[in-house]
């Protein structure tokens, strides 16, 4: 279908954009890459009065990496992340996940801010944000505020954003060298939204015990979330096939997926267990150059890529 009628503005500065979003007539929506908003409009799931296109606003398109961590402006596109080789050490889970985000043409337009604000429960970046303790920076005519990713996502397509607020950036804490991590997902077609996915990471001590364990999932709940019950099974334990298996089991039990067109809840729950197991084993193998025992339990569940 064709989109409903709306007005259009392409302000040149952030303050102008914020003023348009705060207009008393209400119902103004930011337009970034349009890769989620245009389908929403085509299906007539929304009919905003005004689209405020962010394309002319300067800035918000940089990836900055320093001792504090990684900060990405809201207008950074998927293809910018894909091309930035620094992220492979500065934020490995994102570097690994980015290849799964949408298709070639969509990656040329889809943005960080649009993905966070759209809040699809199966989208990769929101999952990485929650799993990696990111902070989302937001602005409005009232000023700016920072929102922890864990508080930002409130349900399927629902966030803590007020209607007149704009996401301006996302920042991630610094990533120490040697931290174990992996990202895994399964989608029906490469580049489609995941049926489920997981980002895992932990720090290993000299005795091979995990600390700071984070296990985040996407597509397995109404929002991206961490599975603390699964984290608790691994944290403080020696990471081996047994503890990985227990954490994976706990992950399958702790997520709360829904039935939908693509998969039943039972299938998704099982899938989360398999993906978490694979990811933890691969994370471990990445730090240790391979631990045969953990590798072999996981390989029975299929190929990893």
């Amino acid at each position: 279908m064709k989109p409903p009628q709306f007005d259009y503005a392409a302000p040149a500065t952030l303050p102008e954009a914020l003023a348009l979003l705060a207009h008393p007539d209400g119902d103004a929506r930011p337009l970034a890459g349009g890769q989620s908003l245009m389908p929403v409009l085509a299906f007539r799931l929304a009919s905003p009065r005004l689209l405020v296109d962010l394309r002319r606003i300067e800035g918000m398109d940089r990836i900055d990496i320093d001792a504090q961590g990684v900060r990405m402006g809201a207008k950074v596109r998927w293809c910018d992340i894909e091309r930035d080789a620094r992220l492979r050490t500065a934020l490995p889970p994102l570097a690994e996940a980015i290849g799964h985000v949408a298709h070639y043409q969509i990656r040329n337009r889809g943005t960080v801010g649009g993905s966070l604000a759209h809040a699809d429960p199966a989208a990769e970046l929101p999952g990485i944000a929650v799993a990696c303790d990111a902070t989302i920076e937001v602005a409005s005519v009232r000023g700016t505020r920072n929102i922890a990713a864990a508080d930002f996502f409130q349900g399927a397509l629902a966030t803590a954003l007020e209607p007149d607020e704009l996401v301006t950036a996302i920042s991630f804490p610094a990533w120490p060298a040697g931290r174990a991590s992996a990202f895994e997902e399964l989608a029906r077609r490469h580049g489609d939204f995941a049926m489920a996915g997981t980002a895992v990471w932990f720090d290993l001590d000299a005795a091979g015990r995990a600390h700071n364990t984070h296990i985040g999932v996407i597509g397995a709940s109404d929002r991206p979330r961490r599975l603390t019950a699964a984290e608790a099974k691994l944290d403080g334990q020696v990471v081996d096939a047994r503890s990985i298996g227990e954490a994976a089991c706990a992950a399958a039990g702790a997520c709360d997926p829904a039935d939908d067109l693509h998969a039943s809840a039972a299938y998704r729950r099982n899938l989360v267990g398999v993906l978490v197991e694979r990811a933890l084993a691969r994370a471990l193998a990445g730090t240790r150059g391979g631990l045969a025992a953990a590798g072999s339990t996981v390989n029975r569940s299929g190929e990893s890529h």
Binding site: M1, K2, P3, P4, Q5, F6, D7, Y8, A10, L31, G33, G34, Q35, M38, P39, L41, A42, F43, L51, D53, R55, C79, A102, H103, Y104, Q105, I106, N108, R109, R189, H190, G191
Partner: protein, 173 residues
């Protein structure tokens, strides 16, 4: 609203509503019906055009968003009546049947090979995963793109399938 941009090297202007998609603007306002529209919500890739060198879905782009930009549609690939090397490779490999997906396949592959002339078969498959074809089963399309690489400065020919790169005539654009 009036919008002006370049299509296939020519400056154009069009009177559009804000909600007019680039695909609609190209087809209805500018009568460039080579760009096909399948799903109109970003899934099929048939509507792919190239904006300042980047492949994008024209059904997910508003015409007003391409103000001042330079667009290449499938009509811009051939030199007059002469097929481009990529188009010629599609023809040689029977990489189309009904032809509905073809404009999107060609523009996507053209953008890819322009940037990555040495794209591997896996990379080509990954990139074309965003373009649906209901006819060919994709194998002939991937072979055609592999074969066309030489014309973009990439490796010669699709040796695995015995088609010589020389057949493209080597006339890269």
């Amino acid at each position: 609203m009036e919008v002006s941009f370049k299509v296939n090297g020519n400056a154009v202007k069009a009177q559009v509503e804000p909600r007019t998609t680039l695909s609609l603007c190209l087809r209805d306002h500018l009568k460039l019906t080579g760009t096909h529209v399948g799903c109109e919500h970003g899934v099929c890739g048939a509507c792919t055009v190239i904006v300042d060198g980047e492949a994008v879905r024209s059904c997910l782009t508003l015409a007003v968003q391409v103000e001042g930009r330079s667009i290449t549609t499938v009509e811009g690939l051939a030199h007059g009546d002469e097929l481009s090397p990529l188009q010629a490779a599609f023809r040689r490999h029977n990489a189309l049947q009904c032809g509905f997906c073809t404009p999107g396949m060609l523009t996507t592959a053209h953008a890819l090979l322009t940037e990555e002339p040495d794209a591997s078969a896996d990379r080509i498959r990954e990139v074309l995963s965003g373009n649906l074809c209901r006819c060919t089963g994709y194998v002939s399309i991937v072979e055609a793109v592999l074969d066309a690489r030489a014309a973009y400065g990439g490796p010669a020919g699709d040796t695995a399938h015995g088609h010589a790169a020389a057949a493209t005539g080597g006339a890269g654009r």
